[in-house]
Amino acid sequence: MKKKWLPYLLVSPYIIHFIVFVAFPVLFSLVLTFHEWNIISPMKFKGFSNYIKMFNDRMFWKSITNTFMFLIIHIPLQIVVSLALAEFLNQNIKLKGFFRAAFFLPVIVSGVVVTILWQQLFGFDSGLFNRMLVSVGLSKVGWLTDPNIAMGSIAIMATWKNVGLYVILFLVGLQTVPTHYYEAASIEGASHWQKFRKITLPMINPTIFMVVILSTIGGFSLFIEPYIMTGGGPLSSTMSSVLYIYKQAFQYFHMGYSVTLGFFFAMLILGVVVIQKKYIEQGDD
């Protein structure tokens, strides 16, 4: 090595980027949590008042419960549907490429497109779903207007959008299972279901956990769907935490408070993900 500075030159863009867009914002937001600031006027030091306000802010806690509500519906649904579709595709099937491409289509399309489209499908009077329900003699559902259902509807839509990706991940996982395991089980007369439970599931456990973590992180960033479809309603049932943080910041310009919420929420996400990862490592033994 003639030039000792060369590696530093190569990593310097990253260092600069890290300082400007990661390190500084994190430290600055810590400072901001103790202030009230709308950017226009000077900052006002407020001690812990933002934190106190946060702990008493029912809407913020509701947004967190809503987010978990979303995850509780979204994750199991996602796993069951994508695993089932992957299992089907993993059989000796013709047109495999077509099916895979079809499932994958919503994944590549912008969430904005999906949301605008599903807003119409969910419509109460003349949305496609309700028209289908009525045509088979069932009653209409307030997909986006019933506070008990709206978040579920969004979770279904998100599942529809992402399933294709997880089908592929599961397919990769399924293909790592050695075929002679299945052959041995067949000789012993195991049923299809037994083979799935005793061989497939344990073998693709790592994929399942990966899917859980990816969908958790995705779910915590829920924003554009409620922003376009419901604005957080009805009865705040689809107010996601990111939407609430956005609202505090850009509707009221409570920057200090909004940053406090963002800081706390990020810590919460980290906590959840760390717990999930711990659990996975234990499961690996």
Partner: protein, 270 residues
């Protein structure tokens, strides 16, 4: 045999579930406004009315251009800078290498919710609000791409690099001329992922761009959908959604395999 039929039936139903809504969206955007509410397969007549209306209401062409510029420059930036960092981490010895590596891992796990608002404030203070720079700079580098490149470079035999050095190549030339042809799959993956992420990003443009002539396409369509200019007309909203979906769908049609591989690898490497 019955099992096979069952599986095929289920697969066909599933693919219809994924494809039909898109079909409906396209047909509805071409149908007369009054028929959208009852549309299932085909309207009584087709017209471009919703599209001409939409094009006259919002500068969607400009937005397409903005998205194109933003996504292209971001992608070039990510490939250039991340490969440099990845190369240094993979093939060079220097003090602080470990530290940088751990910082990168840490950044990957850091939720964006924490930096969102402070980064906006940075943009305001740097006077970058309403510029392309605001859309591009924060995404010029990313931890995931660096790790991908690092991994790719680690698999390259040291002998290749040594030979190039003996030939008198500078390290920059080694990366971009000697090594790049050997890691094309990684470049494609990083390229597709960066392009798609940039193309589909909405929250950040909503925050830093308020000038219509600089808005990106998804942002423009979002605001058109929630704002007043669509005058509560359904067809124009759907037309905007179709126009937003089209470019990426066409790209997907051509490079389907790469899209699927790239997206899948983004999950697997976590």
């Amino acid at each position: 045999m019955t099992k096979k039929i069952l599986i095929y039936t289920l697969l066909i139903i599933a693919s219809l579930t994924f494809l039909y809504p898109f079909y409906w969206m396209v047909v509805a955007s071409l149908a007369p406004e009054s028929e959208i509410g009852s549309l299932t397969f085909l309207p009584s007549s087709f017209s471009w009315h919703s599209y001409t209306q939409m094009f006259s209401k919002i500068p969607i062409g400009k937005a397409f251009f903005n998205s194109m510029i933003t996504a292209t420059i971001t992608t070039i930036g990510v490939i250039t800078f991340s490969s440099m960092v990845g190369y240094a981490l993979a093939k060079m010895e220097f003090r602080g290498r470990k530290a940088i590596f751990y910082i990168i891992i840490f950044t990957m796990t850091l939720p964006f919710q924490i930096t969102l608002i402070p980064n906006y404030i940075t943009m305001v203070k740097l006077g970058l609000v309403d510029t392309y720079a605001a859309l591009i700079l924060p995404f010029m580098l990313n931890a995931f791409a660096i790790l991908m490149f690092r991994q790719a470079f680690m698999t390259i035999p040291q002998a290749l690099i040594d030979a190039a050095r003996i030939d008198g190549c500078s390290e920059i030339r080694i990366i971009f001329q000697v090594l790049f042809p050997n890691i094309i799959p990684t470049i494609v993956t990083v390229g597709i992922l960066s392009f798609m992420n940039s193309w589909n990003e909405v929250l950040w443009p909503l925050i830093v761009i308020r000038d219509e002539s600089l808005m990106t396409m998804p942002q423009m369509v979002t605001l058109f959908s929630v704002g007043g200019r669509s005058e509560a007309q359904l067809g124009v909203k759907l037309a905007a959604a179709v126009v937003l979906a089209l470019p990426i769908m066409i790209a997907y049609g051509f490079f389907q395999k790469y899209f699927i591989q790239s997206m899948a690898s983004s999950g697997i490497k976590e």
